[in-house]
């Protein structure tokens, strides 16, 4: 049977913020670009981002600049971040936000007409450009409309809207194809018809987001099945930092059907406080040693900070997300939780009702309609939810290039930028900064090629066979296998981990791999969710194995990886990355690698006293040498 075939210079997989920004860049550099996405155009998970995009524009506090943002990002990630990415991100985020405005975005304004910026956890100054609490929607819509604008330009010049940039919506890629060691294209299927599609392209940008659907309680949508992570592994690329998963401290806990849905951090940024069943603002008991001097120790000081930031320290509700999530977890475990198993998040006693509805319209709406709770009159109940994976494809900071020639990655699917924990607001800016860089990286790579790599027919045949297999089989229900994987990861490789439990999870995952090979899907090839899930399961299981193996190896607690049996941070481990690969295509190997040393001009942006909390004695001696010279 003949397979539909398309030729492009750059194929971008994923149409969230990173994918669209990458595609826009590739097209602006004159490359014929395809955007391939599992959902309709404009529906990607980026719409769920609420709080804002972090960029040191200094519109609200003129003391803000890229160096402060860089420091906050490194601190948030517990110094495990790829420092070059953190540097580029902090320097370029303002330009990326301003550019959106020139493409039609309408951010909330300051009194003098500039883009307003709001406070967020771990950010020293008000830094998040926002539109109420629906910033992600604004970002995706603006990028979507920018793609349309480029298509209109192409129609003017070439008489065809899709001459240079085309969206393949509701289309899933199941394999990357290679000519020797180089990328030569991608294989996928149309969700609508079930028929196959082949992309002949020398460069592929992965922008597929995260892996949350491997967990039961998650803020992520069905699309987050780790596709890009798995595609990269199967193509021979490496993943780093897979043990670091961000459990957002505030997900809804009731009703059960919405458990995990995100409650934006802006609630706390705008004055909301966390209380336990005794009515105590418990976060004051959980300020870790490394942050002691930066956070208020009394409620009075914390409350004064909202109006006078120069003379007061911020309230501990605004600690980085990992700290807050662990604190909530501990309160619930200690029996001080709310009736439905979370804690109380209250903004009703902190702001006038009108102000809450203005600043947090979608939270108001969400609680009113889904939980019958009026957040202007009563507290919410919240608890941790699997939200974001810091780990992903190991890439070159400047170009987004992976170890496989022709394969690029940006956004959540890439690893390094956020270290062991991402600050809120740093995701939307990450998408823009590194989406653009990956698009440019892919375009430059294509320019440098002497000849187009070829699509090998045997790989196409194998991909076709693999995708069709579940349809012909009278096997197990894929929904059941999926549910067991979710429960396993949630219970055994969740927010608090121990060696026995993670080992147990690995045994289950090993068995699940076998069951995934035998799942069956009834029905036709036309829009068949059971079949689609059967195909996605391969990715979820592979990525879950990466998470569990890396989590078992890292014998310390840092950011989004907490080991009950190794409670503290260990400076020796800070220098090490855990690198996952899957050379045989089904089992994961993890090895340790040393992080490159931070550049002198960057490390000297920090105080010695702060570095001392993170670095080894050997590294401190090096630092003293630099500081002296």
């Amino acid at each position: 049977m003949e397979i539909e075939r398309h030729e492009y210079d750059v194929v971008v997989i994923g149409a969230g913020g990173a994918g669209l920004r990458a595609a826009i860049e590739a097209r602006q550099q004159g490359k014929r670009t395809a955007i391939v996405c599992k959902s309709l155009f404009g529906k990607a998970h980026t719409v769920m981002a609420e709080g804002g995009a972090a960029a040191a524009m200094g519109n609200v506090n003129p003391d803000d600049n890229w160096m402060v943002h860089f420091r906050d990002t490194m601190r948030g990630g517990k110094f495990l971040n790829n420092w070059r990415m953190a540097e580029l991100h902090a320097k370029e985020a303002p330009d990326r936000v301003w550019e959106l405005e020139a493409w039609g975005a309408l951010f909330d304004r300051t009194k003098d007409g500039k883009i307003s910026q709001r406070n967020f956890g771990g950010h020293e100054y008000p830094r998040l450009a926002h539109v109420g609490d629906r910033t992600g929607l604004e970002l995706i819509r603006t990028l979507q409309q920018r793609v349309v604008a480029l298509q209109q330009e192409d129609y003017e010049t070439h008489g065809d809207h899709e001459a240079y940039i085309k969206v393949f919506a509701e289309c899933t890629v199941t394999r990357l194809l290679k000519d020797g060691d180089r990328i030569s294209g991608a294989f996928g299927y149309w969700r609508e018809s079930g028929s196959f599609v082949l992309f002949d392209a020398p460069a592929v940008v992965l922008a597929t987001g995260g892996i949350g659907k491997s967990y039961v309680v998650t803020s992520n949508s069905w699309e987050y099945t780790g596709d890009g992570h798995a595609l990269a592994l199967l193509a021979g690329a490496k993943l780093i930092n897979m043990e670091f998963i961000q459990f957002h401290p505030t997900g809804m806990v009731w009703p059960p059907s919405v458990r995990g849905i995100l409650v934006t951090e802006s609630v706390r940024g705008d004055g909301g406080v966390l209380r336990n069943s005794d009515g105590e603002r418990f976060m004051f008991n959980y300020i870790p040693e490394v942050f002691k001097d930066k956070y208020a120790t009394t409620e009075e000081e914390g409350d004064r900070w909202y109006t006078d930031q120069a003379n007061n320290r911020r309230p501990p509700e605004l600690l980085p997300r990992d700290e807050v999530a662990r604190a909530i977890n501990a309160e619930v475990k200690a029996g001080r939780g709310s009736p439905q198993g979370g804690v109380f998040l209250d903004v009703s006693t902190r702001l006038p009702a009108e102000e809450i509805r203005r600043r947090l319209p979608s939270m108001y709406h969400q609680f009113k309609e889904l939980a019958d709770v009026d957040i202007t009159a009563e507290p919410m109940q919240v608890g941790p939810t699997c939200h974001y994976i810091m780990g992903g494809v190991e890439v070159d900071a400047d170009t987004g290039a992976s170890a496989v020639p022709g394969l690029f990655a940006a956004g959540e699917v890439s690893g390094g930028m956020h270290g062991s924990n991402r600050l809120g607001g740093n995701s939307l800016s990450d998408l823009l900064v590194f989406g653009r860089r990956a698009g440019a990286g892919a375009a430059a790579y294509v320019d440098g090629l002497a000849a187009r790599p070829k699509l090998p027919q045997d790989q196409v045949d194998a991909a076709r066979e693999e995708a069709l297999a579940p349809l012909g089989r009278d096997g197990e229900n894929p929904y059941e296998v999926h549910h067991e994987l979710q429960r396993t990861m949630n219970d055994l490789v969740g927010i608090i981990r121990k060696a026995e439990e993670v080992s147990e999870a690995l045994e289950v995952v090993e068995k699940l791999k076998e069951r995934v090979r035998l799942v069956g899907a009834g029905g036709s090839r036309i829009y068949n969710p059971g079949w689609h899930l059967a195909i996605d399961l391969r990715n979820m299981v592979l990525v879950s194995e990466c998470v569990a193996r890396a989590a078992l190896m890292r014998e310390e607690s840092r950011g989004g990886h907490t080991r009950d049996d190794f409670p503290g941070m260990n400076p020796e481990w800070r220098r090490k990355l855990l690198v996952c690969s899957a050379s045989d295509g089904s089992s994961v190997q993890v090895e340790e690698r040393l992080q490159p040393r931070m550049r002198d001009d960057l490390i000297t942006l920090f105080d010695r006293d702060e570095l001392k909390k993170y670095l080894t004695d050997e590294e401190m001696a090096e630092f003293d040498g630099i500081a002296k010279s």
């Binding site: 959902s39 309709l40 155009f41 404009g42 529906k43 990607a44 998970h45 719409v47 769920m48 303002p94 330009d95 301003w98 405005e101 020139a102 493409w103 039609g104 309408l106 951010f107 909330d108 304004r109 003098d112 007409g113 307003s116 539109v131 109420g132 629906r134 929607l137 604004e138 819509r141 409309q145 349309v148 604008a149 209109q152 809207h161 609508e192 949508s221 069905w222 009731w254 009703p255 059907s257 919405v258 849905i261 995100l262 979608s362 969400q366 309609e369 889904l370 229900n477 894929p478 929904y479 059941e480 549910h483 899907a521 009834g522 029905g523 036709s524 036309i526 829009y527 068949n528 969710p529």
Partner: protein
């Protein structure tokens, strides 16, 4: 807490289909989309439905529930009596692909026909200065999650395939209003709204406003003001009538 509900769900593909009966468990706090998912997991694994965020933010799970356009994820089961049979059908204005999934490409085609944001040539990124009060009008329209239920319910095209070519639908007429009210947009959109995108077809019955899950006042804040802007140059009897009727009730 939990009970068995009766559902009728439209199933079919390739232009044929029928309502299929299901009896399915419902638990406290669930929404219609949860029930559809339970049907997928337990009784009909190939039942097709679009969804993403499950929190009313992405606009994917538009469907008709007991004949009314609704987001499946925002329709709580507690709004129905336990013995009520709930009928779920795909959006009627767009061709069905399979079950609850429709071909919404009409909307993307209309989006492409509307000229994009056109800022003045001499303003560079970072130099934009706008007051909150001036951006709020367009911000209301940018809350749109593109669920396409306004276009689905609009009687101009709901049962009139022949009008589709000439009419952008409330979603995209609102997009024109959004751009027209953008403080930095310099394109002239009024003539085109009327001539090319079918603003004149709208007779302000407000069906679109009623179904909008974001509670955007599409008719009052986008379509009527846009008609008024057009009227500066042209006479439209409906605007005249609309002003009489709706201004009075305020």
């Amino acid at each position: 807490m939990s009970y068995k509900a009766k559902f009728k769900v439209w199933r079919g593909e390739g232009g044929e289909g029928r309502l299929e009966d299901f009896t399915v468990e419902v638990n406290e706090g669930e929404v219609v989309l949860d029930i559809i998912h339970r049907l997928q997991a337990t009784q009909a694994p190939d039942l097709a439905v679009r969804w993403n965020c499950k929190a009313g933010k992405c606009g994917s799970c538009s469907m008709e529930i007991n004949g009314k356009p609704r987001l499946g994820c925002m329709t709580r089961m507690s709004t129905f009596a336990e013995d009520e049979t709930i009928t779920v059908t795909p959006m009627r204005t767009f061709p069905v692909i399979k079950d609850l999934v429709t071909d919404v490409s009409f909307n993307y085609q209309k989006a492409r026909e509307i000229p994009s944001f056109t800022p003045p040539a001499d303003v560079r990124p970072g130099e934009y200065r706008m007051q909150q009060v001036d951006v709020e009008r367009s911000q209301e329209f940018r809350k749109c999650i593109e669920c396409f239920m306004c276009n689905n319910v609009c009687h101009v095209i709901r049962d009139h395939e022949e009008n589709k070519a000439a009419f952008a639908g409330p979603r995209y007429l609102m997009r024109i209003a959004e751009l027209d009210m953008h403080p930095y947009d310099v394109a002239d959109r009024k003539e085109a709204a009327q001539q090319e995108h079918g603003l004149g077809y709208c007779n302000i019955t407000k069906c679109c406003t009623e179904v909008c899950p974001e509670h955007i006042k599409i008719t009052d804040n986008a379509l009527i003001p846009m008609k008024e802007r057009v009227v500066d140059r042209r006479y439209d009897p409906l605007v005249w009538l609309g002003n009489k009727i709706f201004k009075r009730s305020k």
